[in-house]
Amino acid sequence: MESYLIAIGTVALIYALLAIGLNLQYGFIGMVNFGHVAFFAIGAYTSALLSIEGVPIFIGMLAGAVLAALSALPLSMLSARLSDDYLAIVTLGFSETIRIVIQEENWLTGGIQGLPGIPSLFSSMSFGPTGLMTLIAISACVACVYYAIRHLTRSPYGRLIQAIRDNEAAVQSLGKNTSWLKIQVFMLGAALAGIAGGFYAHFMSYLSAEQFVPLVTFYVWVAVIIGGVGRMSGAMIGSLLLIAFLEGSRFARDILPGVAEVEMASVRLGLIGLALILCTIYFPDGIMGKKRT
């Protein structure tokens, strides 16, 4: 049981990292990123490939974050020209393209066969269970990121990016470089997704293109929105709830004895759907509520 909980906790924290990044992009500066999974994938594959080549995992993960951020650069430059829905589709397209590239470019990514045998964090250490150590490492990372980003959002910088979300033209006419700020924030969010990808790769030990479908992006959105847009704690709570739902519904069978095993998959899906609907209806501002009134 413990190691299952550890696994779920790890996945939840990976999603928390993703959600913090997306929340920064959407909740604070208002950029609609529907391709978050692309940066996740870039981080995952970079770190995995480097570590397979023998590069220390820590460096690999860092490289993954940097590469994810760099790949976000051209997209965010575009976003100076595009508004919400349009940026949404461009990022979505980007993530699908990345997925297809991963799938097609055998020589690099193992293509459709996937990339097995990725070393896990701390696998070379002789003490302590790997799973627990991974959980501790990612917890520490999430805590650092959480406080660093919270500090940012509470600074004048954070105020400014929220003003951009409310009305970009007005901020421009105040003489602020909104495009540059958007680029910064977008890259920062992508870097966080890249780090999440690194943790994911070493946790799963196997990567394939089918793990990076748009559904992952949707899940992160769900986490952000259920938790509360523009709230730091919202991203955290949202991810924990999301994973609790996705995984917790596995146990629904124990309370629903009359349901056949194959019908259970349907019931699970339905429970998740129902939860999403009820959450959005009854918690208009997310579980964590509004920031202020």
Partner: protein, 379 residues
């Protein structure tokens, strides 16, 4: 790990996602077979308790489900992983937990990674499929084959295996198209194939996409023959498309162990559980065998054996040598007097050193809506 009265097993199947058309039947069979073993008094003095999970045909979901099965439900064996991605991702977990993993995946790399010997593959590897395809093409006198593959590990390696075998024999493949899943139409893909003027197309495909592709092709009016795996070219395909479209389609499959009582038994059971003939889901027959093999190994290992001990007995109950048996009851009897060789519904099994079953293949042809055996090959 296993409490004395029961042995816990996980049925990890693709209930949703692209494998769902097989996974549902596979899971039903596992559950039904476990019940049957229990009704017979259990195996090795223990009842089987099944925990069913859905891997959504996705590695990530598969890993989480497997972790739940291993850590929460404390299962000693996971049965029925289907997609190679899931099997490859779950394997390190079962290895770490000393749990048995029985799969129906085709990727050759599974054998290489099976270092601890806990993984058992009931399906032929993809490259063997490819060789069987090549045999079918040669037997029927085709000269200009083209390939079409569903873009996943299984689809690609099947056609890749074909290509290698065909070219090794000096032939040439005139066109290779890889197509994406879940498209409304594959007309452009079919057109690309047709423009190369092949006489036969070798498919690495599933039922769903094959239905669409054959319909597109038929309507185009171009004269062409097809070779495809039997999980795509089966009764369901004929039902969906009608016999005109399917006329002359060649299908290749591992030989279910026909004539064997196990297969007959499976067919009746499957028909009863799902309403469809057993031949529409050869993976389900593999799952049928998984439960029997596991139960026999438990029987052989004796009461309260650990999963490691049970695992060690698998070659002794389903290896190449020993008294041939066709069912759990029979096996349980014969075990008392030495080694047995369970010959299953899906194949004779006869696991090799790397844990792979090596079934024979049959080449079939669809004539007037009926699937007929053309020949039987060993590759």
């Amino acid at each position: 790990q296993a409490s004395s009265g029961t042995f816990r097993i996980g049925a990890l199947n693709s209930i949703t996602g692209s494998g769902s058309s097989y996974g549902v039947g596979m899971q039903k069979i596992i559950i039904a077979m476990a019940e049957r073993i229990n009704a017979l008094g259990g195996a090795g003095g223990r009842k089987l308790e099944v925990f069913a999970e859905d891997d959504q045909t996705k590695p990530e979901a598969g890993v989480l489900a497997a972790k739940k099965l291993l850590d929460v439900n404390k299962v000693g064996a996971i049965l029925g992983t289907f997609s190679s991605g899931v099997t490859l991702a779950v394997m390190p977990l079962t290895d770490a937990a000393d749990a048995i993993l029985m799969n129906t995946s085709g990727a050759p790399s599974i054998s290489e990674r099976n270092t601890k010997g806990f993984s058992w593959r009931f399906e032929a590897t993809n490259d063997r499929y490819g060789r069987a395809f090549a045999q079918a093409a040669k037997n029927n006198g085709f000269e200009r084959p083209a390939t079409m593959a569903f873009n996943n590990a299984s689809g690609l390696s099947n056609t890749q295996g074909f290509k290698e075998a065909w070219e090794a024999a000096g032939g040439k493949v005139v066109q290779s198209v890889v197509y994406e899943p879940n498209r409304p139409s594959y007309r452009s893909e079919v057109q690309k194939i047709i423009e190369a003027k092949p006489d036969v197309v070798v498919m690495g495909s599933y039922l769903q996409d094959t239905t669409i592709i054959l319909r597109e092709w038929y309507q185009s009016g171009y004269d062409l023959r097809w070779i495809m795996p039997n999980w795509a070219g089966n009764e369901a395909l004929i039902k969906a498309l009608g016999k005109d479209v399917c006329e002359g389609v060649l299908t290749v499959g591992t030989i279910s162990n026909e004539g064997s009582p196990a297969l007959e038994d499976f067919n009746t059971l499957y028909q009863k559980l799902t309403g469809n003939p057993g031949s529409t889901n050869s993976y389900a027959s593999m799952c049928y065998d998984m439960v029997v093999v596991l139960a026999l190994a438990m029987e052989a290992a004796g009461p309260n054996a650990s999963s490691v001990e049970i695992n060690a007995k698998i070659p002794e109950v389903a290896g190449a040598d020993g008294t041939v048996v066709h069912s759990f009851e029979e096996g349980r009897e014969k075990l008392k007097s030495g080694k047995i060789s369970y010959q299953g519904a899906s194949s004779k099994l006869n696991f090799d050193k790397r844990g792979d079953a090596s079934p024979d293949f049959s080449i079939n042809i669809i004539k007037n809506g009926v699937i007929e055996r053309q020949s039987r090959v060993q590759v």
